[in-house]
C-alpha cells in the first residue's frame, strides 16, 4: 500500500460543482421505451449521455455552444410528426423520445450520406482513421452503397493553419466545432468559415494563423480528419497505440490527460474531461510533455565521474553506494528538490535525509520566480511544475524551511560537501538549468538524480554521479495541483528499465537488502484501490465519457 500523506495541509478534494450539483432537479422521460431520470433543463442529447445511451452527432460538443448543423442527432418525439434534433430540444417531464425507430435510422443514414458525398474517403492516408466519427457512424448507421455518381467538390488540401495544425478542407464536414472553439473557449477568433454552400471552407485569414496555446484542442474535437496535428501527423496509426489516463506535468494545473503509447514510446497526449480541473481542454505546451519521457531524451544508465574517470553502472548499484556514503553524513549533505516528483517520493526522500542522513538542508529549486504566479485565464499557469504545492506541504510538515541563499553560501564556505539534486523532469521548463548546474557543481560531491539527458551534466568533471530516475508515466504517485487537489496516478509503462523512482532509491539507499527492494518496487507500482476515485475527482460522474467517447 501507498503511504498516506501525513501532512494535514493537503486540501481535501473540492466539492464537485456544476455537472454534479446536488440541487439539480430530476425529471423522468422515456428514451427508446426506457424510463430514465435526467436533470431538468437538459437537452435531449445530454439526456442520452446522462443515461449512457448512444446517439449520432457531429456538431454538438458538451464544451461548446449548440450549432445544430449536422442534423444527425435526429429523434422522434411522441406527438411531433417531424423529427427533431436532440441537441436543441429541452427535455420535458413525461417526454417520450426515440432514436431507434426505422424513421430515425433512415434519417440518420441519409444524414450520413449527405456528409459523405463530398468527402474524399481517403481513410488509408487519413490520420483520423480508427477514431473517426464518419467511420464509426458508417459502421453503426450506414453500411450502404453510395448513389453519388457526380464529381466531388475540390477544395484545399494540406493547409497549414498554424504551426501545429494542418487542415484538409475536403475531409471537413463543416460542423464548426473548431470555429466555435476559437470563438468561445480560446476567444482568439482565428478561424472562420469562408464562402457558403458546399464551397464553404474552414480557414484562417492570412497573417493571423491559428497559433494560440490551445490550438490542438481543435484537432481533438474535429470529428473527422480535417484537422490533424503537425506533431502527430503520420507518425503512427492510432490502432497501434494503447492509452492510459494520467495527469499532465506541464504546469501546476494538473490537467487530466490520456497518453497514447506503444512499445516504442509515447506519441501524443489528449485531455480527459474533468470538470474540476481542466474541463474538456488542455494546452499545447502540455501536449509536448510526452517528449522528454521517450528514450531518446533519457539517461539510460547511472554514471559516476570521479578523478577524471567516467564509469557507467546500473542505477541500483550506484544507489547502494550512495546509501553507504550518505548514511550519517550529517549537515554537510544537502538535498535540492524540484516540483516534478510525487508526494510519496518527497516524503520518502525528505524523511530519509532528516533521519538517516541527519540533515535539514533541504532546498526548493524554483525555476521561474518572476512568472511563477502568472495564469493565462484558462488553464496554463506560470508554475510549470506538477507538484510544487505537494512539495511545499511535505517540507512544511517536516519543518523544513531553507532558502536557496543558504545553500549557495554553504557550498561557498565548504560547509556543504555533498549535494543531492532531484533535478527537473522537463528540462525545457527550467531556463536556469545551466546556471544552476554551474552553481551547484562547485560542491565537492554532486549527485544528480535526473530522468533526462543533459549535455552540461555530462560535461561535468570532478566528483559527480548521475542517476536515472523514473518519469511520471513510469510510477504511481500523487500530485497536488495549484488549488490543492490531490490527484493519484497509476503507472502507465516502462520506458527506461534501469531507472528508479525516488522512493525506490531511498529504499535502496537504506540498504535493506534486495528482497526488500523488490518488495518496495512492487508496492510502489501496485495500484491502490482508491486510485480510481481519486484521480480526477468528479470523473465518476462524467456524463460525457461513453466507451466510445466524445470525439
Amino acid at each position: 500500500m501507498l503511504k498516506s500523506v501525513t501532512s494535514s495541509g493537503v486540501a481535501a478534494p473540492q466539492a464537485t460543482t456544476g455537472a454534479t450539483s446536488p440541487q439539480a432537479k430530476m425529471v423522468t422521460i422515456s428514451i427508446n421505451g426506457k424510463e430514465v431520470e435526467v436533470k431538468e433543463g437538459s437537452t435531449i442529447i445530454e439526456a442520452y449521455y446522462q443515461s449512457g445511451l448512444d446517439i449520432a452527432h457531429y456538431c454538438w460538443h458538451p464544451g461548446l455552444s449548440i450549432a445544430g448543423v449536422c442534423r444527425l442527432c435526429m429523434v422522434e418525439i411522441e406527438g411531433n410528426p417531424r423529427l427533431q434534433i436532440a441537441c436543441n430540444t429541452t427535455v420535458v417531464a413525461g417526454m417520450k423520445v426515440n432514436n431507434s425507430s426505422a424513421k430515425v435510422k433512415d434519417a440518420v443514414k441519409w444524414g450520413l450520406d449527405f456528409h459523405l458525398i463530398n468527402h474524399p474517403l481517403d481513410c488509408p492516408i487519413c490520420d483520423q482513421a480508427g477514431e473517426c466519427g464518419l467511420q464509426d457512424q458508417y459502421m453503426k448507421y450506414g453500411q450502404y452503397d453510395s448513389e453519388m455518381g457526380e464529381q466531388k467538390v475540390k477544395k484545399h488540401k494540406v493547409v497549414d493553419l498554424g504551426p501545429r495544425v494542418v487542415l484538409d478542407s475536403e475531409r471537413c464536414i463543416l460542423c464548426s466545432r473548431c470555429v466555435r472553439f476559437t470563438d468561445e473557449v480560446s476567444k482568439t477568433h482565428e478561424l472562420g468559415i469562408f464562402n457558403r454552400g458546399d464551397r464553404a471552407e474552414i480557414g484562417t485569414f492570412e497573417g493571423k494563423p491559428l497559433a494560440n496555446n490551445y490550438s490542438l484542442n481543435t484537432v481533438d474535437i474535429c470529428p473527422v480528419g480535417a484537422l490533424t496535428s503537425r506533431d502527430f501527423r503520420f507518425r503512427q496509426r492510432v490502432w497501434f497505440l494503447k492509452n492510459a489516463e494520467t495527469v499532465c506535468t506541464g504546469c501546476s494545473t494538473g490537467c487530466n490527460v490520456k497518453v497514447y503509447f506503444n512499445k516504442e514510446g509515447l506519441f501524443r497526449m489528449k485531455p480527459v474531461y474533468n470538470p474540476n480541473v481542466n474541463g474538456h481542454w488542455m494546452c499545447d505546451v502540455g501536449r509536448d510533455t510526452y517528449k522528454f519521457v521517450n528514450k531518446e531524451a533519457r539517461l539510460l544508465e547511472a554514471k559516476v565521474v570521479s578523478s577524471g574517470k567516467s564509469q557507467e553502472m546500473p542505477a541500483m548499484e550506484l544507489a547502494k553506494k550512495l546509501g553507504a556514503t550518505l548514511r550519517g553524513h550529517g549537515t554537510s549533505a544537502a538535498l535540492v528538490l524540484t516540483g516534478s516528483y510525487s508526494v510519496e517520493e518527497y516524503e520518502a526522500i525528505v524523511s530519509y535525509f532528516k533521519t538517516d542522513v541527519g540533515t535539514k538542508n533541504i532546498y526548493h529549486w524554483i525555476n521561474n520566480p518572476e512568472t511563477f504566479d502568472s495564469f493565462d485565464g484558462l488553464l496554463f499557469r506560470g508554475d510549470k511544475n506538477p507538484n510544487t504545492r505537494g512539495l511545499l506541504e511535505v517540507l512544511k510538515a517536516q519543518g523544513i524551511s531553507g532558502s536557496w541563499k543558504e545553500l549557495v553560501d554553504g557550498i561557498g564556505t565548504g560547509a556543504i560537501k555533498t549535494v543531492v539534486v532531484a533535478g527537473p523532469e522537463n528540462q525545457a521548463n527550467f531556463p536556469d538549468m545551466k546556471v544552476k548546474i554551474a552553481e551547484l557543481s562547485k560542491v565537492a560531491k554532486l549527485v544528480w538524480l535526473t530522468s533526462g539527458k543533459n549535455a552540461e551534466l555530462d560535461a561535468l568533471t570532478g566528483d559527480v554521479a548521475l542517476l536515472p530516475v523514473k518519469s511520471y508515466v513510469e510510477k504511481a504517485g500523487s500530485f497536488v495541483n495549484h488549488a490543492g487537489l490531490r490527484q493519484q496516478v497509476d503507472r502507465v509503462m516502462t520506458v527506461v528499465p534501469g531507472a528508479v523512482s525516488l522512493t525506490e532509491l531511498v529504499d535502496l539507499m537504506k540498504e535493506v537488502g534486495d528482497a526488500m527492494t523488490v518488495k518496495s518496487t512492487a508496492a510502489t507500482e501496485t495500484v491502490p484501490a482508491i486510485s480510481a476515485n481519486q484521480i480526477g475527482q468528479g470523473r465518476i460522474n462524467n456524463e460525457f465519457t461513453l466507451s466510445r467517447g466524445v470525439w
Binding site: 477568433h189 472562420g192 469562408f194 464562402n195 480557414g203 484562417t204 485569414f205
Partner: protein, 171 residues
C-alpha cells in the same frame, strides 16, 4: 498596401457607431473599401479594415466571402451582372450573357476583358422579373427589358465611353 482615403476613414468611423454593434458596420464598410479599391476586396482591404474597425480579420473575411456582392477577384470597370434565374433564364438571360461576353472579349464569367472594361457574372434573381432579361452594371440601378441586340449595343456603348466610365457611381 490598401489604405482607405481620409473620407473613407471618416465614413467607417461614422458607420461603426451607426448600429447597435460595430460588427453591423462591416457590410457598408466593405462596400466603401471595395469602391476605393477599384471594385474588389483584396486581402489587403480586409487586413486594413480589421485594423481600422478592430474586428478580427477572419470575421470580416467570413462576411466578405459569404455575400456575393463583394468581389474576391479584380473586376473590369463595368462589372456586368446578368440575371439567369428562373424568369430571366427562361427568357434568354443566359444567352444574353454569353453573347455580351463574346462581344466584350471575355472568355468566361469572372474574367476581366483584355481592355479592362468588362467583367461578367451570372447572378441569381435581382428582383426585376417583369422586365426580364435584365442586368445590373456595378451597383447602379438596373438595365432592363434587354434582348441580344440591345445587349450588344450596350457593350459597344460602354466600350466607346471607355475610360470615362459609363456608369456613374463606380463599383
Amino acid at each position: 498596401m490598401f489604405k482607405l482615403s481620409d473620407e473613407g476613414l471618416k465614413y467607417v468611423k461614422n458607420e461603426l457607431t451607426r448600429y447597435e454593434v460595430k460588427q453591423s458596420a462591416i457590410i457598408r464598410c466593405l462596400y466603401r473599401a471595395q469602391d476605393e479599391n477599384g471594385g474588389w476586396v483584396s486581402p489587403d482591404v480586409i487586413s486594413h479594415l480589421s485594423a481600422v474597425m478592430e474586428i478580427p480579420s477572419a470575421q470580416i473575411e467570413e462576411v466578405a466571402t459569404f455575400y456575393t456582392m463583394f468581389n474576391k477577384t479584380p473586376v473590369g470597370k463595368n462589372h456586368i451582372q446578368v440575371c439567369v434565374t428562373l424568369t430571366c433564364g427562361m427568357l434568354g438571360g443566359r444567352e444574353l450573357c454569353d453573347s455580351m461576353m463574346k462581344e466584350a472579349g471575355c472568355k468566361k464569367t469572372g474574367d476581366v476583358s483584355p481592355d479592362g472594361l468588362f467583367t461578367f457574372s451570372k447572378v441569381e434573381c435581382l428582383g426585376s422579373c417583369d422586365t426580364a432579361p435584365m442586368i445590373q452594371i456595378n451597383r447602379d440601378p438596373y438595365t432592363e427589358n434587354l434582348n441580344t441586340e440591345k445587349g450588344l449595343e450596350l457593350v459597344r456603348k460602354l466600350r466607346t465611353a471607355g475610360g470615362a466610365g459609363a456608369s456613374g457611381k463606380g463599383h
